[in-house]
Amino acid sequence: MATKLVPVPSRAMVPERDAGRAPILECVNLGLTIGGLKIVENFNLTIGRTEIAGLIGPNGAGKTTVFNLLTKVYHPTTGTVLLDGQDTAGMTPAQANRLGIARTFQNIRLFKNLSVADNVKAAMTNDIHYGLFGAILRLPRCRRQELAAHHRALKLLSIFDMQSLADVKAGSLPYGAQRRLEIVRALATYPSLLLLDEPAAGMNPSETHELIDSIRRVHETFPIAIILIEHDMNLVMNLCEGICVLNFGRVIAKGAPADIQSNPDVIEAYLGRQKEG
């Protein structure tokens, strides 16, 4: 059943259940210019606390650039990103993560030489509290926290049924499992906003179907907001409550899946204009 989108004070639309609370993410007039070229221009987006949103558009539209702006890999030349009401200007990617934003990458970026469990535990670095001497002397506090972290990692891995792979080197996992591990690693930082960059890329229809279920399960387990970039329209239309369509760095349409599917500008961006004849 389609989620009803309702306006918040800034007149942006969010799912009805999130309307009572401040949005988790607000992009206001975001722009990035590199060498005179406007990569992203006048980008406005508001995401509700528990919304699953889609960011779609043809290749080269600037979708991943938007993710890089949100995670502070790039700094915007204009506009602001408000995460949980806080301005993220001047933050590093690590600081943005600590504020509650986590992501996966279009080209998988795992810690290849670490085990699956260690990949997840590496993402918990800021959540494990013991000092340098605690680590060197392996004090009881350190042992306790390591054990707790290990169990937490296994629990997170169990969302994707990967706990049996805990000791496998991440680089030697099959492709689909690597994509899933990236999502688990992002979740290990306990984000309030999760960005998934083409999670279904390179997956066959049955794997994509499993992924849809897994993302739903993540969303049920953790009440967080998710934005995903995806070319698989089946996945997007199935999962997303609100969709934002980007073309040449500009938003050309925004709204519920049904509205987007019938929007003439979107059809034109993807298929081109029909010849007058």
């Binding site: 590093t92 690590a94 993560n97 030489n113 918990m124 340098l132 680590a135 992002a186 930082t189």
Partner: protein, 356 residues
């Protein structure tokens, strides 16, 4: 509940296996010394070998685990050597028991080297890759130059320090400890194999415990993918600094041990060549492989001595053998052979345990 540290886990086996092998080597050496089957030239090399082992383990933490190239580690070794020896000389009458004096000196050497590592790390660790390597090289040379122009003496009025020329103006009866390019002379050789063994074990324990901690995972995350590491909230500069300072501290302790084995020590001993020598040990032993580091340091320190009978061709043969070992250890066929050997050993062990 499954225990985290269990010998069934491959990394735990590797860690405890390394401790056991190093201890075994020490016991064998002790037996050889007591039965007088060790040549005196070999005996003289034991302490330097231990110092090089610690240096290699320390550098491997930066090169193999953190993934940054440091070409100036001999600089930290010399900071540790000079401060450690100076400390030992100052404590000569206060602490008559040599092992304690050596321990305190090594701790002082480690502390000063760590401080040096921290100060140098502030500008250096903002860089990455080749640029970082080149700047560490420069700092290694700077440390050498500073120590070559450093004078320190002690008399009844206390410590006197001067740079460039000896203007310490010591009172009669005072002693010049550090004499610029002359370095430190009249050192009492209190470094022993026991101290060397202890330091090697400490270095291994520190580095292994660190690798298997939240810091170690952060180091390796930065090495494998810096952008992904930042995306999960890892403060890259901070963890680089941690690894660098720990490595510098271990190098400082190693430098102190090394210096205490000679009667004089000069800054020129710790030059670029020494840094590269240690780097060769690291690469040959395998990046991130601490047992390999220890073995490579021992083998490549003994090798040139064993090649003395070739006289003029010694270094030529040494270089040729080094190239052969490098090619061999990178050869897929050779690696597979060793991997098969290991899995064969494990399979036969399991068979034996199942048979009963």
């Amino acid at each position: 509940m499954k225990r985290l540290i269990s010998l069934k886990r491959p990394e735990a086996r590797r860690v405890y296996g390394t401790y056991a092998l190093v201890t075994l080597a020490y016991v064998i050496l002790q037996i050889m010394i007591s039965t007088r089957t060790l040549s005196s030239s070999m005996k003289g090399m034991l302490v330097p070998i231990c110092a090089y082992m610690v240096m290699t383990v320390a550098l491997n933490l930066v090169v193999g685990v953190l993934g940054e190239l440091s070409l100036g580690h001999a600089g930290f070794m010399s900071v540790g050597a000079f401060t450690g020896v100076a400390c030992a000389i100052l404590l000569q009458s206060a602490v008559p028991w040599a092992p304690l004096r050596l321990s305190v000196s090594m701790a002082a050497g480690a502390a000063f080297a760590a401080l040096g590592g921290f100060l140098i790390g502030i500008p250096v660790l903002r860089l990455k890759g080749d640029y970082l390597a080149i700047v560490t090289l420069a700092f290694g040379e700077i440390i050498k130059s500073v120590l070559n122009n450093f004078y320190m003496g002690v008399d009844k009025a206390g410590l006197h320090v001067s740079m460039l020329a000896d203007t310490t103006g010591l009172l009669p009866g005072g002693r010049l400890i550090v004499g610029g390019p002359m370095g430190i002379g009249g050192i009492r050789k209190i470094a022993t194999l026991d101290a060397g063994f202890a330091l090697v074990m400490i270095a291994l324990i520190v580095v292994y415990n660190l690798i298997n901690s939240r810091m170690g995972r952060a180091f390796q995350a930065v090495r494998d993918d810096r952008i992904a590491a930042e995306s999960v909230g890892i403060d890259v500069t901070r963890y680089k600094m941690t690894a660098f300072v720990v490595s510098a501290a271990l190098a400082g302790a190693a430098g102190c041990l090394f210096a205490m084995n000679y009667s004089t020590i000069v800054a020129n001993k710790f030059d670029f060549n020494t840094s590269i020598l240690i780097l060769v040990f690291v690469v040959l032993g395998g990046q991130g492989n601490m047992l390999g580091s220890v073995a490579a340091a021992a083998a490549l320190t003994i090798l040139p001595e064993k090649l003395r009978e070739f006289r003029d061709y010694r270094m030529l043969i040494y270089a040729a053998m080094l190239i052969a070992i490098m090619l061999g250890s990178n050869n897929a066929a050779v690696r597979n052979f060793f991997a098969r050997l290991r899995s064969f050993g494990r399979a036969s062990k399991e068979e034996a345990s199942h048979g009963h």
